[in-house]
């Protein structure tokens, strides 16, 4: 595997990881009002490459955020308890949006590296053309 292939592979793994992250964030946001929903968090892990040099990034285990659920006062809600509260999700929109922005930024950086590796290898191909 030459260096450009390695660079493209590792960038692709970064793109995939960030895309998975965005997908889970979208899931959290769309379930922001689901009663009892716990937000999902993803972790990134660095995988030791087979030749021991280039380490791709991969998604680790999915975790559920164990922070307490929001208690909402709504006596007319079917799930309301004796005091008129029910447990909503523990999704904080602000955190999700900030996380999504960070994921987007990292995705763009990976995309740029991918594009650059592609340009460099195609400039080598240009040498063969005459």
């Amino acid at each position: 595997m030459n260096e450009f292939t390695k660079a493209l592979t590792v960038s692709a793994s970064g793109l995939k990881a960030q895309a998975t992250r965005i997908r889970h964030l979208a899931e959290n946001i769309s379930n922001a009002d689901t009663p009892g929903y716990r937000r999902k968090t993803v972790s990134f892990e660095s995988e030791v490459g087979r030749d021991g040099r280039i380490s791709e990034v991969q998604i680790g285990n999915l975790h559920l955020d164990q922070s307490p659920l929001n208690r909402v006062f709504d006596p007319s809600h079917p799930l309301a308890d004796g005091s008129g509260h029910y447990e909503s999700s523990n999704v904080n929109m602000m955190i999700e949006i900030a996380d999504a922005r960070e994921a987007q930024r990292s995705y763009e950086a990976n995309l740029k590296m991918f594009d650059q590796a592609r340009q460099m290898s195609s400039s080598l191909m240009e040498l063969l053309r005459r």
Binding site: A7, S43, S46, A109, M113
Partner: protein
Amino acid sequence: MFKSLDVFKMSHAMAVHAGTRQAAISQNVANADTPGYRAQDVTPFAQFYNADDTPGSGRLKATRAGHIDALGGQLGGQERRPEQIPDPNDNAVSLELEMVKAVEVKRQHDRAVAVYKSHLGLLRTALGRG
């Protein structure tokens, strides 16, 4: 000049170095959100090229250190990269710094390809096929 083709050898080494560095930077960018990851880099080209001692390696000849300039072959201001302060998740990758390095790599690769092309033109001219 036509026996060993040092210029081709050197531009080849330069392109290989750029490719290796591109892979390292891609790895850093892909792992920009991995907890505990530290950015990696490869040795600078001059060091990488001159480290190879084998006869016929095209190593650059140099007078003894400090012969021409009193500073021992070094320019006055040694380039110094800022020490990276890790994020709260113990990740020490700065995307901005990686982008700067990526541009350096792109320019180095383009330069290597340009040198190769120009030398190829020279040889073609010598063969009378301008």
